[in-house]
Subunit: 139 residues, 4 copies
């Protein structure tokens, strides 16, 4: 297991909300991470798909860890999500990568897929800015 | 209790994820809703503030219900969030309103506050597009 | 004329693109600015409304000057626009204000109106992050 | 020249603002377009880079034509831009593609590059929603 993946798994285990969701850190390399979530019934919307708030959470963590793989301590400044399809399936997978690493912020993008019967469908895309934390200045 | 608030409470009770979060529907009138969340430790980030994914969930439901108060059946198409401050406190309150009601979509905005010792601080703002659901066409 | 307005007018006059557009700085106070544009035929789309690119330019300058009224030297990091209606009329007015002033960035919002026969219609809203420029670090 | 490229060039020639900017339609295939702009001094900011409003215009047209290559008549609903670097150089190139084609809207992304001395630098990325125009309903 790479150092970055070990670090990511440890960091995720320190987030109470990610423990509640039982999010898994699947892969990590500089500028690129994959996280996943086993879909529980309690993650759903009234019509059976995964709740948009769960998708937005996965984008939030995907963007943050893609940035953290570049610059370590950081905090999300802003993000945008386009929901493309209902997220139906037994697993949610977030694949995020850094697009630009600046001196004070990293811009990342995250694609979220739902996996059903072994097949992945793109259900949402997100893009956001993650700020380097230095000198107690976050934003 | 207004019909809209009763409808909102019932609708929220049908969302398994909102039941897991124990989100409360506080107020509803045409074009304007307020939802809240009692902060549990398991909603937090590693540094003690509420997790960004919880804030994004509150924006997702705020925007959707502000739109639903105008057009009933709808589905969120996209949203954007600016995180302004760490969300510290015992309660999260989302105040959302519609900005423009079109024939096929409603644009809404949502302000998220954290309440600590009776005082509210603005911690995030969101804006998004919610699509009318008609003829099985969502987006 | 306030010092901020004089400063804003001078700054705008130093932007070649704003000179091409003949944008006017109407009002400025700390955290709040108004800019306007007389609509020329060459600013239009094929169907007669003002081009979305002109609206996005007005949001870009509105956000930047609202931030500049708070922190002077700054550069836009990101912005989002929701187009609400075709912008028909003889004048475009951008009203922008700061929402949160942080140590490294200012989040602002901008409403864009088109004025026709004395009446103003909201045609677009924008929200964005403007970074303080310090030590040659922009983003 | 492909039919799509001819159609794109003709459509762009019908936009007065794109004529003012002298934007060029370089390439078009289903779901993918390239447009460019020769940088004139009057497109610049006070510090010599191309004005953010010009970049936002290029993203606006890039997204719209990527969608139009899929569904013809359409109108931009919303877009988001992350500015990554000052746009320095003699040419601006917008490369846009569709990400998801729905029954009522197309989500597209657009990368904007500045070309200087033959080398291209990514200066901004945009993502947005473009609505199908049907039955006089735009949004």
């Amino acid at each position: 297991m790479s150092d970055l993946l070990a670090l990511g798994k440890w960091s995720l285990s320190q987030q109470p909300f990610s423990c509640l969701m039982e999010t898994k850190f699947e892969k990590a390399e500089k500028g690129k991470v994959v996280l996943s979530l086993d879909v529980r019934d309690e993650f759903k919307q009234n019509y059976g798909a995964v709740h948009g708030g769960v998708i937005s959470y996965m984008i939030d963590v995907g963007l943050a860890y893609a940035a953290a793989s570049e610059i370590r301590d950081c905090v999300t400044s802003e993000l945008k999500i386009n929901y493309l399809r209902p997220a139906v399936g037994e697993k949610i997978v977030a694949r995020a990568k850094s697009i630009h690493v600046g001196s004070r912020q990293v811009v990342c993008e995250c694609q979220v897929f739902s996996r059903q019967a072994g097949e992945e469908m793109l259900v949402a895309i997100g893009i956001g800015t993650v700020n380097r934390v230095t000198d107690n200045k976050q934003n």
